[in-house]
Symmetry: D2
Subunit: 376 residues, 4 copies
Amino acid sequence: MAGGGEGAFIGAIHRAAAALDGDWQLAAGAFSSDAARNARSGEALGLDAARVYPTFDAMLAAERALPADARIDAVAIVTPNHLHMPMSVAALGAGFHVMCEKPMALDLAEAEAIAAAAAASGRQFALAFTYSGYPLVEEARARVARGDFGAIRLVQVEYSQGWLSRPIDRDGNRQAEWRTDPARAGLGGCLGDIGTHAFHLAEHVSGLRVESLCADLTTHVAGRQLDDDVSMLLRFAGGARGVLKATQVAAGDENGLKLRVHGESGGLEWSQMEPNTLALRWLDRPAELVRAAGPGLADTTAHRLRTPSGHPEGYIEAFANLYRAFAARIRAGEGTPEPALGAADWTPGVADGLRTMHFVERTIASAASESKWTAV
Amino acid sequence: MAGGGEGAFIGAIHRAAAALDGDWQLAAGAFSSDAARNARSGEALGLDAARVYPTFDAMLAAERALPADARIDAVAIVTPNHLHMPMSVAALGAGFHVMCEKPMALDLAEAEAIAAAAAASGRQFALAFTYSGYPLVEEARARVARGDFGAIRLVQVEYSQGWLSRPIDRDGNRQAEWRTDPARAGLGGCLGDIGTHAFHLAEHVSGLRVESLCADLTTHVAGRQLDDDVSMLLRFAGGARGVLKATQVAAGDENGLKLRVHGESGGLEWSQMEPNTLALRWLDRPAELVRAAGPGLADTTAHRLRTPSGHPEGYIEAFANLYRAFAARIRAGEGTPEPALGAADWTPGVADGLRTMHFVERTIASAASESKWTAV
Amino acid sequence: MAGGGEGAFIGAIHRAAAALDGDWQLAAGAFSSDAARNARSGEALGLDAARVYPTFDAMLAAERALPADARIDAVAIVTPNHLHMPMSVAALGAGFHVMCEKPMALDLAEAEAIAAAAAASGRQFALAFTYSGYPLVEEARARVARGDFGAIRLVQVEYSQGWLSRPIDRDGNRQAEWRTDPARAGLGGCLGDIGTHAFHLAEHVSGLRVESLCADLTTHVAGRQLDDDVSMLLRFAGGARGVLKATQVAAGDENGLKLRVHGESGGLEWSQMEPNTLALRWLDRPAELVRAAGPGLADTTAHRLRTPSGHPEGYIEAFANLYRAFAARIRAGEGTPEPALGAADWTPGVADGLRTMHFVERTIASAASESKWTAV
Amino acid sequence: MAGGGEGAFIGAIHRAAAALDGDWQLAAGAFSSDAARNARSGEALGLDAARVYPTFDAMLAAERALPADARIDAVAIVTPNHLHMPMSVAALGAGFHVMCEKPMALDLAEAEAIAAAAAASGRQFALAFTYSGYPLVEEARARVARGDFGAIRLVQVEYSQGWLSRPIDRDGNRQAEWRTDPARAGLGGCLGDIGTHAFHLAEHVSGLRVESLCADLTTHVAGRQLDDDVSMLLRFAGGARGVLKATQVAAGDENGLKLRVHGESGGLEWSQMEPNTLALRWLDRPAELVRAAGPGLADTTAHRLRTPSGHPEGYIEAFANLYRAFAARIRAGEGTPEPALGAADWTPGVADGLRTMHFVERTIASAASESKWTAV
């Protein structure tokens, strides 16, 4: 694991998610550039001190030197964004599979460098678009794909947080600090951090591609260098219309990712904060509540579930679905055909990363433009 | 009453709302241009046949000729939009107060004609922006106005219906028919019918004015002449950002009007379909659910309530609040100062009508423009 | 109207409910035994001072002396419980129809006296079991009756209020005062006031009769003379089992009347505080949300609705359904056969009143008994 | 691990819960008395074949013979109920700590045998009353304990499932089969399986002890030998009143465990199917929604959380809180004082097991009795 030492948030989640199904074991790490912090983190995690490395490069070199059955199989990169590219490229080059946090990189060019490295290496590159790991997101995707709602007309996605409502990035909050720093976060602030999740979810579930967008990026908190609020209109290929709203200054909101998709005969609504219910509404009959592990699920949904109905699964379990699939892909071996969407071992990866970094760049362009529509 | 005969929808609601508090009694009507239908409607409502008039003009002339204490006080205009202006102008000119359905008119010029007539007549002109009559909408407005959330940053409003998902306007549905006919509906389809409600609610509660907007109007159902789907980005004076979504093709949705407003320290959410709860979320403390007739309400909210807490009030009661206030203003007499927002006898009226018709015109202009922002 | 003067709660609701559909007009009243209060109440309601009577008996005598087309048709009795019997008997005897608040009387013997008077008079006697007027309660009843869920096994009903959590009955709250006084409230406190509603709803919707019960009555607030909290187990004919919980000391609860019924293949849940949704859950398919004015309703539900889907109706509208049906029964005339459950002009009446007063007496007996089961 | 082989439900949950925080590693097992199934289960879990034992006794003997740092530390007993006692006693006697599924045993005498073995061994015995591991159950408990609601008056708990609505126990469903077989399940059916959870939660959160109860046990599905439906009235020491409802024939219900507790000034509601919200209602101020990882939590709640607010945690995480605490207690070593309720390393254990088995026996007695109240 790269990053994710004491006080970090997402590293602990990765570890729990990887551990859940017994497919992964944490064996080595370079948790922090601060040597003491690095050592403490490794110790707290019960690692062999010899495998708690001072730098990422040291880890790659040392692990590579170990016998094949003793070395790590993959690297989880849970650092701030600016390290995603160099670390991913190095790890892939050194023959390790990579599970990388989103956004993929600082910009599209970096993402393309990762894509090239992945292609050259023959290694797996998975990207933590965690929300696509939720069972009922898969159910939603499968139902749209099989035409339950007819042709899709409307896609509305929102991701509403409030934790950056105050200038905590200047008051020592480390999570906030790097996320609002262009050098470490990249082109987008809120846009890169959660706007990419929203965009990914919208295209993933609707099965449609955004053709053009019209964006308004705002920085509400004085002195902040990157956007903390994103609004945009979307036009999809085929005529569907959409709205994407992502914000980190909706004071009091927690992690409100919500998706609605409507077709000719009905629509669906899914909300991350109550992830075990998928609401279906119909023009001609009563609304239905599809429940995790309840009746009526697609097979591709069912194999993403661990508990019987009414025993809620959450964020870590969604994440674990990515780690389990990632392990399955690695076990399948090089040369195995790319798994289809919905397949047990599908994970978001290079294509999703390139698409979302392209989205970030086109959104920045749109926000700076006087023209209404910017092609994507 | 003008319009609202057999088979109409909103006329019956007006009658119920007006009757609820005992302030109004239906005394005369011109319900339909079809004589038999008109007569049947009057009889069903228990009216004296002599006061069921063949035309609106006949009603005005005959009622005006009655002694002051025998004639009607006011006219409710519940016809399709194209009759709002001529009827309002005529009624005001004949000395009657007017309660008019929204949108105010076919376009801004017509709205201005009504405004002029109202000013010249000294009569009251109330406009049925019914949703502003809900007690917890008043609570929301009052809390924003007194600064509970700090400076407002985000305003999100949506109005989601699905009943026009199919071309029922060509299959004999009268409600759909005139609403999709430019000659009777005016410049906007969904925009005029419900987009105006959404816009009115957003400005009414936030207390902010939209300075510019960027709109996408779509007609999803082939052959329909007016928009059935509206999306737009909003920029408010003072820097707040907004999104407005109104649609009549969200298949399966009912009457989903929902407003969210966020300021520096918290935000509110109100949903018309569960109107007796106002959710408040805070940066630093647990969310609160403010309930109709529960503890903690503003005085201006309390006097819009009729039942003790837990006994739900609904749409008719919200509407009745407008009728009650309308009666109170009339009783107050000519020359009484304009009631403040929140006052017991405040109603939406000329200013709200002009503002929303202006909004309709600017939205049409934006939708036709290649430029991103159109001033409002 | 008898009772319901200034400061009363339910009188104003009766007036609004009666006015809503235009079937009724308030023409006379004896609102209070306090002459000044009585006069003020009548004036505030716009009544002719001559028809604001000092006593109920004076009202009956004077109205009876008026020509048939000038006198009142019916009397609404909205007084404390101890007056229900004498007033109902007198009104029926004087030839007036009666709409009476629940519970029917102080005890079963009184209820039987009303029943006898109603039978002798040929007049209508309707009882304000208001919750049976909700459209989706009718939907629930109709679905159970037509066997949607198979044989019924479980009936769970609860009515949870908190307003009597403190001794406000000793602090001048008039509503609390008479409801906790055995002389005016009758045998039961919470039991009579809301336990009867819960019991009525349970039998009305399930279509089953309670055969035996086991009750625990408690007075939590020191010094109170009647129960403020009711719990009981129910056994229904045919083997279904039930639980009834009614309380007025669930601090913070508003008016939480909730019913659940389960059969062999599914179940339903309805909650009065969100009355426009009926949840159906199924063993073999996803849950459904049946919505007021949405698709899939029984005809008997549809004619209890006034607004299109998504425009919420509430408590007053439910009440108005009783008043509308009461008017229809009166218009139908003496000798008309008793309307069936679900029929447009069905109202709760004598049979419901006798049954619920019997329930009150059997509950009191059970609470005082050491035996587990008391026959009903 | 004892039990929990292929096709079992709760074994997999235990493994995930134990793995989540990295405190435990599955090292050995006796998963099934069917040798092939046992072997396949062990292999699927990646165990060394030498530590996949044919019987529980073989496992204890072999592991005990290993060096201290190579043997297992604890045994998870996830078998049907009839094996809990012999396996627990044997494991404790052999010096292993035990995490045992609930109910503790077939009857109270067996539970007492475990208690004696635990006391004699000095080993930890933890019991999987999983729901007490939810963070917001701890929050509820802590708030009641510190007096937020004043003296408690009402405790209502329900646990509603529907999966046994049909005779699936006779159609090859293994989960259903043993749970409805007195020889393997014990005295109670639904009562032992989920009634014990409900009772434990009610006493755990309210901090009160049930003094007497009045129970109705029913078997709705013909031919079933144990109860599938439980209703009872509760009287708590100090005067609080309660209702407990547990059922496995509420067709369509999933795993509806819900608790409400009301005191003099307010109350709380928690529902296992949406476990990240705790609703607080107050007599004098608006209701609050306390959220997992949101503001206002007790310290004892906070250390049971793994994700930031709005990232839902679920059933496995609640279970993992027990496993984490169990590990902490073991690390603390013999002789460490019993951790207080709320402490990081508190787990349900012997006392909870004895209490709930006593409850089962008293409920059976009550159900068979003609007397209303049975002392607990």
